[in-house]
Symmetry: C2
Subunit: 378 residues, 2 copies
């Protein structure tokens, strides 16, 4: 944690010398041009760029612009359809099924939230499922889109297998995140956004960069051994497909591994099985021989279906105040509301720029060059 005056970054650039600070608008525009050059429509390119840059702003660099290559590769190999026509397959009033037409998940995701909010405005709540999609970036982006309209927003997705189902070895589940955004009278909104795995792979990558040891309880190999220590070694086992991330709750059932695994399973049943998408180990990657067929879920709740907006704001503000005044654990860095760290990081990075690793800069420049763009990002 770095905290200087009002500056705060939950994932500060380490070592700082390897990073360049880039203005968020510049970075978004650069990414937009790349995706447009890779075949996306102008508006769709902006959406994908905005999701990536928002992740970087929030300090979730694993889901930020460093994903550009993966998406561009998917587009250029036509594993991903660059010009998807997202269409409504079924509409039952408060529920809608969308087909993403094998495009990037961000495009269908933004459309799905719009539909979910419209439906919730009419019926109080809604559930929109999406099939035939791809990776959609950070789940929280879509929840915040609902929050911007004054609604409670829920977003969840399945993803390519990386996590061990409880009591098994190998990779069966995605990190299958769940995000819930809750509006407040004034920023920050509340944003719970969590993988149902104990950690994202991005955290192991960060530990490898920092030379830190992986604690016991994050990763299990194909023989059932818990891998810990040297993060670079653990990371290479994961990348080689010989290790899996453990579910939230860890190995076995003693600390609730069945709960994290069960949550991931439930997310998968609703996002994948019920939507008509793939599930479990069948979910594909952005760059593959076949469409990934990722499935997403979105729900919205109209606060005013239950009480006046004013009353809700007063009540949620009381709860937030009560949490912030709790007695801090002696070892903790602070008492945080869900989403607060991300919000403070965003506020900081809107002011001082997003730290982009020099290797990511080079990769983005190289992608731009290959696509015939003359700009360079850094």
């Amino acid at each position: 944690m770095e905290e200087t005056g009002s500056l705060y970054e939950r994932e500060p650039p380490v070592p700082p010398g390897e990073y360049v600070r880039v203005n968020h608008g510049t970075l978004r525009e650069f990414a937009r041009k790349i995706f447009a050059a890779a075949g996306l429509r102008t508006d769709d390119a902006w959406v994908v760029a905005d999701v990536l840059v928002t992740a970087d702003l929030m300090g979730i660099s694993s889901h930020g612009v460093q994903r550009t290559r993966r998406y561009v590769d998917g587009l250029l190999t036509r594993c991903v359809n660059p010009r998807p026509e997202v269409r409504i397959v079924r509409d039952r009033g408060a529920t809608v099924l969308l087909d993403a037409d094998n495009g990037l998940g961000h495009i269908a995701g933004v459309k799905a939230v719009e539909v979910a909010v419209d439906k919730a405005r009419r019926y109080g709540t809604s559930l929109v499922l999406v099939r035939n999609s791809h990776h959609y970036g950070i789940a929280g982006y879509y929840s915040l889109k609902a929050v911007e309209r004054g609604f409670i927003g829920v977003s969840a997705t399945n993803s390519e297998p990386l996590v061990a189902y409880v009591n098994t070895v190998g990779r069966t589940l995605g990190t299958n995140p769940i995000a819930v955004g809750i509006p407040t009278r004034s920023p920050p909104p509340i944003l719970f956004d969590a993988a149902t795995a104990v950690v994202p792979v991005g955290k192991v990558e960060m530990y490898a960069r920092l030379g830190r040891g992986v604690p016991e309880g994050w990763v299990v190999d194909s023989e059932g051994r818990v891998l810990s220590g040297d993060a670079s070694k653990v990371l290479s086992e994961i990348r080689a497909g010989r290790a899996a991330i453990l579910p939230l709750g860890g190995l076995g059932e003693e600390f609730g591994g069945h709960k994290g695994s069960g949550l991931a399973f439930v997310v998968d049943v609703i996002s994948g099985v019920l939507s008509g998408a793939a599930w479990g180990a069948r979910v594909g990657y952005t760059v593959g021989a076949a469409p990934a067929n990722v499935g997403h879920s979105f729900a919205a709740i109209d606060v005013e279906a239950f009480m006046s907006r004013e009353e809700f704001y007063e009540r949620i503000e009381s709860y937030v105040r009560e949490v912030k005044s709790l007695r801090k654990h002696p070892d903790a860095d602070g008492v945080w509301i869900p989403g607060e760290k991300a919000w403070k990081t965003m506020a900081t990075r809107l002011r001082i720029g997003i730290p982009v690793h020099v290797r990511v800069c080079e990769e983005l420049n190289s992608i731009a060059e290959k696509l015939g763009l003359s700009e360079r990002i850094c």
Copy 2:
């Protein structure tokens, strides 16, 4: 685990000599008479008895008939209203707000599921919130009620404070469980039912009975020390209010304590803040000076809003088969679908009876006697 032929109990009676096997119908009828004698209407008494006995059948004895005394005390002291009129406060189409009239949560819960299913049948999905309620027993009971009607059922509730919010000491959150039931063509249905705490207090109680040591990572005291070892000592610290259960993910953020804590918070915001009920440390107990004002959430999803029932069943059966054929971790007792252990325990106990601890028998007999009933349970 005890497995004899096709008999399986996930929480076997230990030591067996301290338990009496009671037929589930006999136990339900006995409990029903107790609640009727304590002032509930006949139908309501049956519902409360059925929720308790179902918990015992499923091997969740912490939420079984041993709770009878707590409920009866609440009824007799009029902390709980014995004759609640559950009423609809708001209806926006797919959303309904119910007021439980300060009755036991089971009564409002069963009504709420009926409303949720009716609404989902019409609009595809629904969200029913309940305020001014009390403890409602096992969350999964209500999800299964939706499953019985062919719907996906979601149930969640807040509860009296017992769990530490991440990075704090003291008790702020309830164990705030989430249950999701998913219909299948033939039993067992899928039932995810989990407290957002790392363990329920019932597990510490069980460890105390078995003389087992509590592992590091379940309980934190008011100074932030993790309590482990002698379960009886840990339990007495919890009962004295000097210790809290940790959220799923454990202490701090290294293993995702912010995720378990965040899930509990989100359950509380929707069940408590948005419904008009109490939240956080304000949620009361069944026996207190004031109404508990517990809040619940129920949602239903009509599978046929997204695909034919037949197609859904085929897909979910495939997923279940795929999970059951995964390679088991060498230390695990088996590979289980969410709810499978509970279902097998129920099948066993429907045949051979529910093990009721002799002390619980005596307590039930004593309650019955005080209420003027001539029957004895065992």
